[in-house]
């Protein structure tokens, strides 16, 4: 793609490289958007995100809610006639938004981080403490109490975490892959 503005070119190239997807091939057929469950709940359609990347619109893309509301269901990529896996593009954009400090859906990131801290500590996610911690930090304490109590009663939320033996190795994997 040709650009007049060097920053715009840089952003486009970065997304293409990081995601490994041929985003230059998109011709806006909107097959991705037609099957996307996130449309209607987010600010841009997936094809719009691709177009904005093609146009080097870094701020608009990295500040969008779409990249976080995308559930990674992979419908878009399975149907794209040009082999663009938009879910991979969305993941690359999430990582870039984290690095740039422009995360629109803060609770989604908070959830991811809380989950991964649990995995880092125990080697497996401990659902009870992970959910409790997420609720505390997000301030969303009261919702779903009924489901939580029901699950506790049914023994579906064991209170003690299972710690795997290879915890040292898991910490190592986390450290070696840290940004």
């Amino acid at each position: 793609m040709s650009f007049i503005d060097a920053d715009k070119r840089k952003f486009f190239n970065e997304v293409r490289e990081k995601s490994g997807q041929p985003i230059d091939l998109c011709y806006q057929c909107q097959k991705c958007a037609s099957g996307c469950i996130a449309t209607g709940f987010a600010d841009y359609y997936p094809n719009e995100i691709i177009r904005l990347v093609q146009l080097g619109q870094k701020e608009r893309v990295l500040n969008s809610s779409s990249i976080w509301i995308c559930s990674s269901c992979e419908m878009c990529g399975a149907r794209c006639p040009n082999g663009i896996n938009t879910a991979e593009v969305m993941d690359a954009l999430k990582e870039m938004a984290i690095a740039a400090g422009t995360v629109k859906e803060k609770n989604v990131l908070l959830f991811h981080n809380t989950f991964l801290s649990s995995v880092r500590a125990f080697g497996r996610v401990h659902e009870a403490s992970m959910m409790g911690l997420y609720k505390l930090k997000s301030g969303d304490l009261m919702s779903d109490m009924d489901f939580g109590m029901d699950m506790l009663k049914k023994g579906k939320l064991p209170l003690l975490p299972h710690r795997i033996k290879a915890r040292g190795k898991i910490k190592d994997i986390f450290n070696k892959t840290a940004h």
Binding site: K94, N107, V108, L116, G123, L157, K169, T177
Partner: protein, 282 residues
């Protein structure tokens, strides 16, 4: 048939009836599952949304363990399956990434084990072999099979029968004597990964799926994913009471296994009234 078994974190907690029914159903069908020793969380959506390298390296640790155990790997959870399968796909096809991951995880990949979803393992037995084991056909039970997103996509990685209109779950359910109804929401995503953080969005996504199931007069939904199952039961409109079964629970019922009631009692939407109305449970 002997396989390594990777239950994943959900099956040890919120989806424990899937774990229990998967073990019993497989035993009943002559499949021996050996739990992978000291398995680690696959990282789920949380890893691949925030750190690509971590999202391949974490499940690769499980591939390493499976390789050591020397048997193919069966995974009941669609989300875990998708992550471990993806890691195996990358290790198999991307030389540059393989070297990096081998370094991080400290193992040598040899492509000797295959990663399967548990549905695939059961489906490959064939309808006839499954039907032969049936003691109590699930007569009168009309269901829709819900595959969701992670089991069938991306197609290059999962290689299932048909991405848009898969049939393997329908075929199993049919072999059990139930009636799978065709519908158009088989592979739509239910948004489970957003269930805690963006409830309004997820209510909308689940609502569409439940409406479509009701439109074809399904009595229940059949899944092979702990996230779908709990999300569909938790986020459906109050008073809907459409139960979601794990396919292994239906196998247990049809095979006449003794523990089925224990599994049913763990659901958030009680499936017992439906089963009793069809004389499939007491």
């Amino acid at each position: 048939m002997r396989l390594s078994y990777y239950p994943g974190c959900s099956l040890k907690a919120t989806a424990k009836e899937y774990d229990m029914s998967a073990r019993d159903a497989c035993k009943g069908l002559g499949i021996e599952l050996v739990e992978l020793d000291d398995w680690v969380c696959c990282g789920a959506t949380c890893a691949h949304s925030t750190n690509h390298m971590l999202s391949i390296a974490l499940p690769s640790q499980n591939v390493a363990l499976a390789q050591r155990a020397g048997m193919d790997l069966a995974i009941p959870c669609a989300a875990c399956y998708s992550r471990v399968k993806k890691a195996d796909y990358v290790l198999r096809n991307d030389d540059v990434m393989r070297q990096k991951v081998e370094d991080i995880v400290d193992f040598k990949y040899n492509a000797s084990v295959n990663v399967h979803s548990l549905v695939e393992v059961v489906g490959q037995l064939g309808e006839k072999a499954i039907a032969e084991k049936v003691q109590k056909p699930l007569k009168g039970l009309k269901v829709v099979c819900y595959y969701g997103c992670l089991m069938v996509r991306p197609p290059q990685v999962t290689c299932f029968d048909n991405t848009e209109h898969p049939m393997f779950l329908d075929n199993i359910v049919k072999a059990l004597g139930a009636e799978p109804i065709q519908w158009s929401y088989k592979t739509e995503c239910c948004g489970a990964s957003l269930s805690l953080t963006s409830k309004d969005v997820v209510h909308g996504m689940v609502g569409r799926i439940i409406d479509a199931a009701k439109e074809v007069e399904a009595m229940a939904i059949v899944t092979a994913c702990p996230l779908c199952q709990s999300n569909l039961e938790m986020r459906q409109a109050k008073g809907t009471d459409l139960p979601a079964f794990y396919f292994t629970e239906l196998i247990g019922l049809a095979l006449g296994l003794p523990a089925t009631k224990k599994w049913s009692n763990l659901h958030l939407v009680n499936p017992n009234p439906l089963l009793q109305s069809l004389s499939l449970a007491d």
